[in-house]
Symmetry: C2
Subunit: 204 residues, 2 copies
């Protein structure tokens, strides 16, 4: 056989990305072969090279599209008129919501940095850093307004992000807690962690 009836390049390319994502999340980049990907797509291994010049390009595209999507989605949240407290709450809810529905992307964007060759690594690392900046900036603003009280904004930001990233490792859709409850709890925990004192205000 040769070209398959009804096959369209852009669709196959999208399918390659879609099918590769869960494979890499489960087995890791190095452990996923082009033949495994081809099987998942329903195509011969050689055909993958009609759409990507190499295996590495698939990984880079997966990761950069995820990071771009994450940053763009946060940019879409209107936090202009918010106080730092409200902004951190928005961020916590945003991060949990966004990442819970894209667990595989988050996982590989965190885990497979080391599988990237130098150029790709640099590109992705910059996007990650931009995301960390979001939290650092919110915490710094909260320090300025006096709503937050932390020893070191950078350390506090990394603590917040570490805590949030960890959610992906244990969250299960059918678990004891709903997504909403988890968001509520994390908002409370993380606001406390940056020294916000909610006493006398409505509890979360």
């Amino acid at each position: 056989m040769a070209r398959i009836k009804g096959s369209i390049g852009s669709q196959t390319k999208a399918s390659i990305l879609e099918k590769t994502l869960p494979l890499i999340a489960r087995f890791g980049y190095a452990a996923v072969s082009m033949r495994m990907i081809a099987d998942a797509v329903g195509v011969n291994a050689g055909a993958l090279y009609n759409h990507f010049p190499s295996k590495q390009h698939i990984l880079v595209l997966l990761m950069s599209e995820h990071m771009d999507g994450l940053l763009a989605a946060w940019a879409d949240v209107d936090t202009q008129s918010m106080t730092p407290v409200e902004r951190l709450e928005s961020f916590v809810r945003f991060h949990i919501s966004y990442n819970i529905t894209r667990a595989d992307d988050v996982f590989i964007s965190f885990m497979e940095l080391r599988s990237l060759e130098p150029e790709g690594h640099k590109r992705i690392e910059q996007k990650r850093s931009a995301y960390e900046d979001v939290v650092r900036k919110i915490i710094r603003e909260g320090q300025e307004t006096g709503q937050f009280n932390v020893e070191d904004a950078h350390v506090a930001a990394m603590s917040v992000l570490g805590s949030l990233i960890g959610v992906n490792t244990w969250y299960r859709a059918k678990g004891r807690l709903s997504k909403e409850k988890i968001e509520d709890y994390y908002v409370a925990i993380l606001l406390r962690s940056v020294g916000y004192d909610a006493k006398g205000k409505t509890d979360v």
Copy 2:
């Protein structure tokens, strides 16, 4: 050539573990070949099989020894007469200290769970769970004494652990902050996060 002058089995076995650890931490289990390990040890690939029946056995031993060491080291800390607050502070300092000096072990014990075959996976997962129990228990005790105030002990424990595990991803020995400062900051951040109110007491 054949057996090398002065070569002792137990030393070679230890060397295999020691040299394999940073390789897997950097490249991932699947991306590290037996020949790479053999080169690092200074031995032929076939000789590795005098000491380990398979590549998988090396990974399992690395991970289980790390988890055993971690649990044993915590068990050595005498927290019997401590309050939950003191105990959580001890745990935070212990975790950061222990893990900063064993960054590669921590990294692979977290990252390479998926590279484990079923039996090994089960064994390691149990040890991980035992470590999580430590934090859950401290937080529950703090709830009982009223020192802590959290919405959900399990979520709070996972948040604390996520936050701590994240330290390994950004800590650099020559960075801006000393290990001691980082410990101090995390103690403060994480005690706040579990609702401990240090007001009126000596600040950390």
